[in-house]
């Protein structure tokens, strides 16, 4: 699914022009502009900047505006981020305060390493 096919999503990527070439396509689901969702976005962005600089794209979906979109990725818990690219689809929930777990969830770091660390 490309971001172009979901026209009503608010795209938060500053490098929108490079979207097509992004290696990592992430979609962040939130419910409203709550401090919690802002924090989650900030956390996620920080992790991505550190580990995936220039290779990622984050689109933010506000379910308050588009509740129907929650069905597609079976979203229950919020905030949640779904790695749409590269496959397979990965799902991480939480406010992303635990960077290690986010990296595991994004397949950027194997679970074994996390345990030894």
């Amino acid at each position: 699914m490309s971001p172009k096919q979901t026209p009503r999503t608010a795209t938060a990527n500053r490098n929108a022009a490079k979207a097509a070439s992004s290696e990592y396509l992430l979609r962040l689901y939130v419910a409203g502009q709550t401090p919690k969702s802002l924090q989650a976005f900030a956390n996620l962005k920080e992790i991505c900047e550190r580990h995936l600089k220039g290779r990622y794209q984050i689109e933010v979906v506000d379910l308050i505006e588009n509740p129907a979109l929650a069905r597609g990725h079976q979203i229950l818990a919020l905030p949640a981020v779904v790695r749409q690219l590269p496959p397979p689809v990965k799902k991480i929930i939480g406010d992303f305060s635990n960077a290690e777990r986010v990296l595991v969830g994004l397949d950027l770091r194997p679970l074994k390493k996390l345990r030894s660390a």
Partner: protein, 573 residues
């Protein structure tokens, strides 16, 4: 609004409002009777039970019946099955889910939770679930919501404390939304649900159960609690069949049915005579009990036949014989049940008692009665039902059956096989439910077995106290008064003997009388003759007397004449 007077207010308010809680009809047959109207409106009901006891179906029926019968749109949030699977499952019960979805009366949202796909990284909440549910409710303007099974959440998320607080929030939110919700939960050990979600649902909890006793399973339902409303507290058997879910309230029917004074002939004129000449009361329950081979089924068949003759439908539940076997056997006593079956006046429903549990039998009977609308019902034999349950259960089933039949004014004849020894044993349980009770007994006299019938009781009518001999012939059944001899009751050839003997004795007496009469006649004739002879003698004597007198007279005349002649002669000479 002007204050209406007390009387009008009472009239305009629906009955359920008296309880204080507004109720939503569940659409499940029988449940609304137990709960006095249905599930609490705008509140959450928890339905819990073990695997395969019908929780999901309960929810589906609630939604589908609400949509179809009350036009209430509904939402199903399914955690275990996809919308397609659910649609297929309930299609076998005749529910067309797709049609309801197209008419915006139902929306099914499948919520898939796969823990392996989800990585938890920090704090989260279940706002997504709320959003989805809210969206689904708004999309069809739902009034009914079913969450099946909410407990699946516990398998999907690690943070149980958070989950619990979110559930609490969810239930509050559901209440605020004003929808009537049903939540299903898996039974736990010692608790109603595995994760104890019953502690969040305080309004109404219904427990479903599927127990197997003696290899026969019976589903039961119990209302554990229903805040703010009176409700039946018993365990009610329920059934899932091709018509869906139906609950049987055991004691919801009170003893306040109307009774009929109309009489229904028994099919045996002599038997009618024993019952004041009229027969049974319409709507009465009749028991024919007896040992094997005493003609109970024949009486049942005759009763059904008599009903059909009056153009009243009869329903025959055969629990030991097949329909065709009954028809063949009844032919031997001159009953053409085939003909009635073809005319649609008689229906023979044959099923082995062990095919299903008592409750299923009861429901089958109920359903058939609703469909066929008979005026007479036969259950033959009732006693074989005991094999499917204990006497207590059978009794409770029969109470319900008889109550139901009485309410519908259907005359019901049941037969019961009794063992030769304790012949009143099995009926002890049910005899109090019976209005008219016949006992057919074997009578053994002089190396011969005959049948004797007598009335144990017949409520509300004078009836014969005599034992009748019960004769089954190819022309039907007849009852004849038994002979009572010096050695007690005589039946069969002993009765015939007795009768012959009595006839012989009577004949002898008759002959003796005639003989004596003849002798008397003879005697009187002889006497007559004697009188005649004496009269003749007398007449002869009189005759003689008369001739003597004449002679004497003549002689004197002659004497006088000769004297005169003599004197004349003297004077001349």
């Amino acid at each position: 609004m002007p204050a209406p007077s007390a009387s009008t207010r009472r009239r305009t308010k629906p009955a359920v409002r008296i309880h204080g809680i507004e109720k939503v009809p569940s659409g499940i047959a029988g449940l609304d009777e137990i709960t006095g109207g249905g599930l609490p409106k705008g509140r959450t009901t928890l339905v819990c039970g073990g695997a395969g006891c019908g929780k999901t179906l309960f929810g589906m029926e609630f939604l589908i019946n609400g949509a179809r019968e009350h036009g209430d749109p509904g939402v199903l949030l399914a955690f275990e099955e996809t919308a397609d699977e659910i649609a297929k499952n309930v299609a076998s019960l005749g529910f067309d889910v797709q049609d309801l979805v197209e008419r915006s009366l139902l929306t099914i949202d499948f919520v898939k939770i796969d823990r392996s796909e989800i990585q938890e990284a920090g704090e989260y909440d279940l706002e997504g679930l709320f959003v989805r549910l809210d969206h689904a409710i708004k999309s069809v303007k739902a009034k009914r919501v079913v969450l099946d099974t909410l407990e699946a959440l516990f398998a999907g998320f690690t943070n149980e404390a958070l989950l619990r607080s979110e559930l609490r929030r969810l239930f509050h939110w559901l209440k605020d939304t004003g929808v009537t919700a049903v939540i299903t939960g898996e039974r736990g050990e010692g608790t109603l649900t595995r994760y104890g979600i019953e502690e969040y649902v305080s309004d109404c909890v219904i427990s479903l159960d599927n127990r197997v006793e003696d290899q026969i399973s019976t589903r039961r339902m119990r209302i554990v609690k229903y805040r703010g409303s009176a409700h039946g507290a018993n365990e009610y058997p329920f059934l899932i069949d091709d018509g869906g879910f139906s609950v049987l309230p055991v004691t919801s029917l009170g003893l306040n049915y109307e009774v009929s004074y109309e009489r229904v002939p028994t099919g045996v004129p002599a038997l009618d005579d024993m019952l004041e000449g009229g027969g049974y009361f319409r709507g009465a329950s009749i028991l024919v009990s007896g040992t094997a081979g005493t003609g109970k089924s024949s009486l049942a068949g005759l009763f059904a036949d008599a009903s059909c003759r009056r153009k009243e439908k009869a329903l025959y539940f055969a629990l030991e014989e097949s329909g065709s076997q009954i028809r063949r056997n009844m032919r031997s006593i001159g009953l053409d049940l085939d003909g009635w079956c073809k005319k649609g006046l008689l229906k023979i429903q044959a099923a082995r008692p062990s095919v299903f549990g008592l409750e299923m039998h009861l429901v089958t009977i109920h359903k058939l009665i609703e469909e066929f609308e008979p005026r007479a019902v036969v259950v033959d034999p009732l006693s074989s039902l005991v094999t499917t349950g204990n006497v207590g259960e059978v009794k409770s089933m029969l109470v319900r059956l008889f109550d139901y039949l009485k309410m519908k004014q259907i005359t019901c004849l049941v037969t019961s096989l009794t063992s030769a020894r304790g012949f009143e044993e099995t009926e002890v349980g049910i005899s109090s439910l019976i209005d008219t009770w016949f006992q057919v007994r074997d009578i053994e006299i002089g190396g011969e077995r005959t049948r004797g019938l007598y009335l144990v009781k017949s409520r509300g009518m004078g009836h014969s106290n005599q034992i009748r001999e019960f004769l089954i012939t190819s022309k039907g059944v007849n009852l004849i008064p038994v002979a009572v001899g010096p050695n007690g009751v005589l039946t069969g050839s002993a009765r015939v003997n007795q009768e012959t003997e009595q006839r012989a004795q009577a004949l002898a007496r008759q002959q003796e009388i005639e003989r004596k009469q003849r002798a008397l006649l003879r005697k009187s004739k002889a006497l007559d003759n004697q009188i005649e002879a004496m009269r003749a003698e007398l007449a002869a004597e009189e005759e003689e007397q008369r001739s003597l007198a004449t002679e004497l007279h003549d002689r004197q005349m002659r004497l006088t004449e000769s004297r005169t002649k003599l004197a004349e002669g003297r004077r001349k000479s």
